[in-house]
Amino acid sequence: MSDPILEVEGLEKFFGGITALDGATFDVDPGITGLIGPNGAGKSTAFDCITGFLDPDGGSVRFRGEDISGERPSAIANRGVVRTFQIPHELPEMTVRENLALAPREQSGEALVASWTRSDDYYTDERRAQERAVEMAERFEIDHVIDTPAGELSGGQRKLLELARALLTEPDLVLLDEPLAGVNPTLEEKILDHIQALAAEGYSFLFIEHDIDVIMEHCQEVIVMHQGRVLTRGEPEAVRTDERVVEAYLGGEAQ
């Protein structure tokens, strides 16, 4: 049994009068983990707190045993935790190629003086970044629009770009915020296949999803959140039949 890759403990977040996170505690093991819960359960807020886009008001987040609570998003990303956004944040005026080439970390050309002096490393790193961008575009089948401004892509293509770009940072853990929302079934299949393949290559995923069938089929473990706290966790089958989970979903809708 391997160590958890992510440990969240007692995470709290308040917005004025609203309690978004009320002491959420969970561990994420390597592999594919699902995060479910009714609307308003605090899933996206948890993502924001884990990746540094929000400062938690209490609790802690540990990645591979190291405390990352309250660090800047870029610092957390450089540790190997990357996230996608529910509504894709493509860089609209930049081409798909540029969107992707931006992602790889430690490019020596990304320093001001280096961009002027242009040593050999500059060219090597940039060439590598461009090559990887093309590879990833081909892998996700968006290479035919590689020189189109990202703002002109279709919704599905943007989702793929979002995922492809996140992967180019060579992360250890990818947090996916509803990667399948608004996606047609064929594309959905493709994305899930990609995720499975990548998991086999050693990437870990934590993804927010509403479709129970998807969770059942693809996740090794499921965490259920409700009203800012973790309700339960376990294997998909066990969670699905858990009374409390059913009630949370029904109860949430009855409001």
């Binding site: 998003p73 540029e98 970390r105 050309g109 961009s115 996140a166």
Partner: protein, 467 residues
């Protein structure tokens, strides 16, 4: 004054403000930072350059310094010039550090907060410079601006004929080159569009000419000009894109004004004087290159170098990160780029360029005071950058040229109204600038040239080269 002198002066001002605009474009066009206080670094550049090179006991100057660097380096050959370069370098460093101080509290803020805070800081520091005599002599400004190598000018090669021949030849070659480039650009335009552009140019020139005759003919002249503009619009519709017709129109109007007007007023010698713009026949005994022309050449060189420098910065992975910050700061941050550091660097680089512009400005105008550095200067630069196309270095050059030509050109109209209306005519010009800004943002927010294309130096198919 010969038209050549006027053109030289105009082009120097355009060069200075282009440099200023290049700095702004790094901050705003490429990184998305709305620095409404950009003029602060222009001011810093001018004042620091002047004060470092000011003689120690300058008359009626009660501010800090002068640090008399030219005097310190007087033993060194070309010491005055070296001192000036050193002063300029110091000014750029000071401006960069100042922008760092400004940036640390403000660059984490949202764009609109950044805008108001930057404006606030610039306004307050402008008040400080204006009110505190002990700093930079307050509202009285600084005279005795060190102008490097001024003693060497006018430069003459010995005799009038030789001067005319050599400098004239160079002048004509430059004009010919410009004509060649414009011609190459315009070549291949739809013939009817070309004809329409020519007619438009004739109408506009004729209209302006009639208007200058004064009286009720002013109105007639304006009407003819308006018709000319309408014909130009027709020409644009006829052609495939507006670039070629407008370039043709502009070239013809320029030629008519620059070569035609002196022909009418003073005869062929006037046209010749325009053609040999580098040579001023009235400078010294045998004519020669005046100091003003030297300053123009230096300024143009600065613009060239800075343009290259900006292009190199922007056409790189670094530039890619800057643009990603402009598009959506969350993305580069989520990918591991520390956006704050990039924003600070962008501020510092852009401010250093503005400071260089300030130093050049001081040298050109030979006397600086706080009224030359108001917030409007920043706003004009924004307009120029947006007209030309934000995030396009060539756009800055074009936009600044268009803006200042219109701005200075319309100043001629002042002569046809009683002098007590001078302030109000100036106000009318700025009103039009405000309106132009709104109109351009609505109808053509990408400006004349749109955003530029980028090439990081590594070809897209994976091939590359080392230098």
């Amino acid at each position: 004054m010969a038209l050549a002198d006027f053109l030289v002066s105009l082009l120097t001002v355009v060069s200075v403000y282009t440099l200023f605009g290049l700095g702004l474009n790094i901050k705003y066009g490429f990184t998305g930072l709305v620095d409404f206080g950009h003029v602060l670094y222009f001011l810093t550049g001018a004042y620091v350059t002047v004060v470092v090179t000011l003689p120690a006991a300058a008359t009626s100057y009660e501010g800090i310094g002068g640090f008399a660097l030219p005097q310190l380096l007087s033993g060194v050959p070309l010491g005055g010039l070296l001192a000036w370069f050193a002063a300029l370098a110091v000014a750029m460093v000071v401006a960069a550090l100042l922008s760092l101080l400004v940036g640390v509290p403000t660059l984490r803020l949202r764009e609109d907060y950044l805008a108001i805070t930057a404006l606030g800081i610039a306004t307050i520091l402008h008040t400080v410079v204006n009110d505190e005599r002990w700093l930079f002599n307050g509202p009285f400004g600084v005279r005795d601006v060190h102008q490097p190598l001024t003693g060497a000018f006018p430069v003459s090669l010995g005799s009038f004929i030789v001067n005319l021949a050599v400098f004239g030849l160079v002048s004509v070659l430059v004009l010919a080159y410009v004509g060649y480039r414009v011609g190459g650009y315009v070549y291949g335009v739809d013939v009817r569009a070309a004809a329409l552009s020519t007619v438009a140019a004739v109408l506009v020139v004729a209209g302006l000419g009639v208007a200058t005759l004064g009286g009720s003919l002013v109105l007639a002249g304006v009407v003819v000009v308006a018709v000319g503009v309408a014909v130009l619009a027709r020409s644009i519709r006829q052609a495939d894109g507006y670039g070629q017709p407008v370039a043709l129109f502009t070239a013809l109007v320029f030629a008519a004004w620059y070569f035609g007007t002196p022909l009418v007023t003073t005869g062929p010698s006037g046209t010749l004087a325009s053609a040999v713009w580098l040579f001023d026949p009235t400078a010294g005994a045998n004519g020669g290159i005046t100091y003003g022309r030297f300053v123009l050449l230096v300024s143009a060189a600065f613009v060239g170098i800075s343009y290259w420098w900006c292009e190199r910065t922007v056409n790189s992975p670094y530039g890619r990160v800057l643009r990603s910050i402009r598009e959506d700061e969350d993305v580069p941050e989520a990918l591991g780029k520390e956006t704050f550091r990039y924003k600070v660097q962008s501020m510092m680089f852009g401010s250093a360029l503005a400071a260089a512009a300030g130093g050049l400005w001081a040298t050109h105008i030979a006397f600086i005071d706080p009224t030359q550095f108001t917030a409007n200067i920043t706003f004009f630069a924004f307009t120029a950058v947006i007209i030309g196309g934000a995030a396009n270095n060539r756009g800055v050059v074009v936009g600044t040229f268009v803006f200042w030509t219109l701005h200075t050109g319309t100043r001629f109209l002042n002569d046809y109204f009683p002098t007590e209306y001078a302030t109000q005519l100036a106000a009318l010009r700025v009103m039009l600038i405000g309106a132009l800004l709104m109109v351009i943002l609505y109808y053509r927010s990408e400006g004349l040239l749109g955003e530029q294309t980028y090439d990081t130096g590594v070809a897209a198919d994976g091939g590359g080269h080392s230098e």
